[in-house]
Amino acid sequence: MNSGDTAWMLMSSALVLFMTPGLAFFYGGMVRAKNTLGMLMKNYVAMGLVTVTWIVVGYTLAFGTDLGGGMLGGLDYLGLKGVAIDIAKGEQAGAIHGATVPDAVIMVFQMMFAIITPALISGAIAERMKFSAWAVFIAIWSIVVYAPVAHWVWSAHGFIFEHIKAVDFAGGTVVHINAGAAALAAVLIIGPRLGFRQSPIRPHSLPLTLLGAGMLWFGWFGFNGGSSFGANALAVNAFIVTQIAAGVAGTAWLLMEQFQHGKPTTLGFASGAVAGLVAITPAAGFVGYLAAVAIGVAAGVVCYLALQIKFALNFDDALDVVAVHLVGGILGSLLTGVFSESRINPSVLDGLFFGGGSTQLIRQTIAVVVAFGFSFIISFVLLKLVDAVIGLRITEAEERRGLDISLHEEQSYALTE
């Protein structure tokens, strides 16, 4: 066990946990004031529920000994059995990808990913979903959708990892495509907000959104930088390309706005930066600095254009989870196959751009399709079930009054006393 690596993994775990409040504020600022707490709550509660599902079964389904075929982990770590630190016996380390840190720290690092992934979906169903239905949905989703996909992609014998040989450094498929596909399913089922496309629905506090973006950016260094499982050269690379992609994508988005509307916006910069962070996520341990520039530009431009999808298809993806996370995740996963360099990470082929041909790109494409298809279908079915049993949507009167009072009997702001 290496104390420097362990220090970095502890810190990275804390940083990734901090992203969930960050996401809550990023989203929370974008809804109307009457729905602020409803939005924050849908994120915060993931820090409660998924902590529980992860320690009970999520972790073992994702990282337990493969049951065969690379489809699912076994129950050896059920209730975190065998993951505990046992000083007397010496710390266990190396079980997961031979890392030099205790297995337990990887368990908790991965827990933070399992928490934020379902939270990402909440942006799509903002301002209209029941809290009870949401709680049930994400608890089950974290087990039946998240854990399997994490196993496929990140477990040593997961079929995407071992057989398809697609790579995903920090969660392009596992986190972003996965959540984005579920968001798409959710939007299709739950339908648009009252007044969608009729009356303006404005962000109630962009400072909160900017704050959330800052927290996300900060936390993302742990998200990507920690995915190397140590304070090593790969972590440094991941850290740097994360910064580059975020900065470049934010700038690119601003330029798109400048060209299309003549005014750059703060929401635009924040959105672009997040899009860049999403797109670099799968690539961070495989691509170099200039590739990060390219990925940043692509993320800023493509995700910006993808905003139009919801108007074209007329569905109300309230806070653009599809445009940013699904599209950004797909983009990043594919561009990993274009810009990967074995020089940076021997575990990957050189990408299309570096003379490695299209092999890695094809692998990436397969992984994208598999992850999207699985997540979309299972999420769709699960949401239909929850809808049938509990009902996904609040009443019209509740929606008018706002989630804060209707669902939580609280008011977000009382500034006049």
Binding site: S199, R401, I405, E409
Partner: protein, 112 residues
């Protein structure tokens, strides 16, 4: 001249304003207020303590108008602000003795 005051539901403001504009009203002023009436308020709970909030958010509109437009203003507000549910609000008509447009100094009907 008259001053028409209307208390309406906040989410009706855009609709009412657009309809009034179409009806020939050239200006109005709106403010966020809290209304108490037949419409029930709500309960808030903070760490187990319950608070009854009797006041409901409303928007208060004020329209200065000459007498000829008055009937149409009233009927327009009635039509667009009505949902049929308790809490649709009220309209009041007050006499006005004079109106002045600050920019030009115009008075009376011209100023509205």
């Amino acid at each position: 001249m008259k001053l028409v005051i209307a208390y309406i539901n906040p989410y009706k403001l855009d609709e009412v304003r657009d309809a009034l504009k179409e009806a020939g009203v050239s200006g109005l002023t709106a403010a966020n207020v809290e209304g108490f009436g037949r419409q029930a308020g709500h309960v808030e709970t903070y760490r187990g303590s319950e608070y009854e909030v009797d006041m409901v958010p409303k928007v208060r509109i004020e329209v200065l108008t000459d007498d000829t437009l008055l009937p149409i203003i009233i009927s327009t507000i009635e039509r667009t602000a009505r949902t049929g549910a308790i809490g649709d609000g009220k309209i009041a008509v007050l006499p006005v003795e004079d109106v002045i447009r600050i920019r030009t100094g115009e008075r009376g009907r011209e100023a509205v």
